[in-house]
């Protein structure tokens, strides 16, 4: 575990220095804060939900980009600079190397998710204050209630989803020979997972259904936005959490298997 931690620490330090990641984080935070002005575009959306969706969009869209790009860059920089060879010449197993890399990316994703959530809390808080001044009759469906515990749980589940995407990108990196191909392939798989292909093609034959199970269904994590207003549904939370964790481990094990036979 010490070796995994040390590799993760190095990877996180390297990730922190990636200018592209900083740029994406800045864009995500800026767009989240922009939701306060974007509400002028309100076309019947419930204001709090509209604001919360900007945070969800930042975490989902920009988070996926960071997950994929960071994982591929960190992985390939080690191979292209041959630091992977120097490291693996030590008593470091392929599992420790891959797990350490993924843990480093996960650490950076935690910082990313936290920054976006904190930025998203500001417009949510201000919008709630503003809505608090309005009379009850203005809310046909009842005055919306903001639950910060639900917001935190929602953020945590989005983080789990991002780590699962990173693990998926890790598998692609372990199996492919070039960084550009790895990034493109990872984005394609990520898009398929987010769009939830199984919903389009359900009712097909056995082979089609089996093929659809190959791509994970990350769309289920979008359901957690309901926790922000309706409180945490613990059954749904644990189901989504374990679903994400199972896929993280599955992708990690497959990454190690693919990387084990790779010639450095």
């Amino acid at each position: 575990m010490t070796k995994i931690f040390l590799i993760a620490k190095n990877s996180a330090r390297e990730a922190f220095r990636q200018k592209l990641v900083s740029l994406i984080l800045a864009a995500a935070v800026a767009l989240t804060l922009f939701s306060m002005w974007a509400m002028k575009l309100d076309l019947g959306h419930e204001q709090l939900k509209f604001t919360a969706n900007f945070t969800a969009g930042a975490l989902g869209f920009f988070g996926a980009v960071v997950s994929v790009v960071l994982t591929c860059r960190l992985f390939y920089s080690e191979i292209e600079n041959r630091t992977a060879a120097t490291l693996l010449a030590r008593p470091v197993s392929r599992f420790q190397f891959v797990a350490g890399k993924l843990a480093g990316v996960a650490a950076m994703l935690a910082i990313f998710a936290l920054a976006v959530l904190l930025a998203g809390a500001i417009p949510l808080f201000l919008t709630r204050q503003k809505l608090g001044l309005l009379p009850d009759e203005m809310f046909l469906g009842g005055r919306p209630d903001l639950k910060w515990a639900g917001y935190a749980v929602f953020g945590f589940l989005q983080y789990v989803k991002l780590v699962a995407i990173a693990a998926m990108a890790c598998l692609v990196c372990a199996a492919s020979r070039s960084m550009v191909f790895a990034i493109i392939a990872s984005f394609m798989v990520c898009a398929a997972a987010v769009v939830s292909c199984s919903e389009f093609f359900s009712g097909g034959g056995f082979l089609l259904n089996a093929a659809l199970y190959i791509v994970p269904d990350f769309d289920i994590f979008e359901n957690s936005i309901g926790f922000i207003f309706g409180g945490v549904n613990w059954a749904q939370f644990f189901a989504a959490f374990f679903y994400g964790v199972i896929y993280i481990f599955a992708f990690l094990i497959l990454s190690v298997w693919a990387f084990a036979s790779r010639e450095i």
Binding site: A52, F54, F61, A211, I220, A240, I246
Partner: protein, 242 residues
């Protein structure tokens, strides 16, 4: 050949492993998102699905495009953008409400050919567009089954386009569930009265009177409505007695 076969088998094994994991954990996905089945992204909206929470904001921009097409009277573009809006953000009642209104009441005028079409053709076009709007609202109700607004919209279309007061009444009643606001109950009472069921209208108003806040600005009109119906029923009774 052996080399490529080896690569193919490795990829197949990986896919099989992932499929097994996906199948084994599918029950968790069902627990995590049970109501997801209704929200199916189709066609163009699928491309925007990757934007996650930004879909609502994107839907707003698409709606603006729909409005621009509406200003020009561009039927295809307007409808196409309305459809994309409701696919991106199916929970926004405003899109379904305004969309149905545009389809039922605005588009027939674009299709009348500047008003030159004969009355029979215009009526046929109105009914066809009305049917399209009803089908549109049906989809809206699948995504938002509790929406009173959409049920009322269906009632209005049945009344105004098809002159079918009975069908309109059914939808007024559907909208007039427990907790319905004053104006919904009054509309339902009005429709009952128009269908010649004044007694039912009065009973409805009386049964719901206690559930409203007496300080509501419309309460006075509500009471006035009850009084008017009582007077109407009493005068009808008197006329029958005579």
């Amino acid at each position: 050949m052996k080399y490529r076969l080896k690569i193919f088998l490795q990829v197949l094994c990986a896919c099989a492993a992932l499929a097994a994991v996906g199948y084994a954990s599918s029950f968790l996905a069902k627990i995590a998102a049970p109501q997801r089945a209704e929200k199916k992204f189709g066609g163009r909206a699928a491309a925007f699905a990757v934007f996650g929470g930004y879909r609502e904001a994107i839907a707003s921009f698409v709606w603006l495009k729909a409005y621009l097409a509406w200003e020009r009277g561009d039927y295809q573009k307007c409808l196409s953008n309305i459809e994309l809006c409701v696919e991106l953000d199916p929970e926004n009642i405003v899109f379904w409400n305004l969309g149905a209104s545009i389809i039922a009441f605005d588009t027939p005028h674009w299709l009348f050919g500047g008003g030159k079409a004969p009355q029979s053709v215009q009526k046929s076009i109105r009914r066809r567009q009305g049917a399209l709007a009803l089908e549109f609202l049906d989809r809206g109700l699948v995504a938002n089954p509790k929406s009173r607004r959409l049920k009322l919209d269906k009632a209005i279309i049945y009344e105004k386009v098809f002159a079918d007061k009975n069908a309109a009444l059914q939808w007024h009643k559907a909208a007039c569930d427990e907790g319905a606001p004053i104006y919904v109950v009054r509309d339902c009472a009005n429709m009952l009265e128009e269908c010649g069921r004044a007694r039912e209208a009065l009973d409805l108003l009386l049964s719901r009177a206690g559930s409203f806040d007496k300080s509501h600005p419309s309460y006075e009109f509500y009471l006035g409505h009850i009084k008017r119906l009582e007077n109407k029923i009493n005068s009808q009774k008197n006329m029958l007695a005579l």
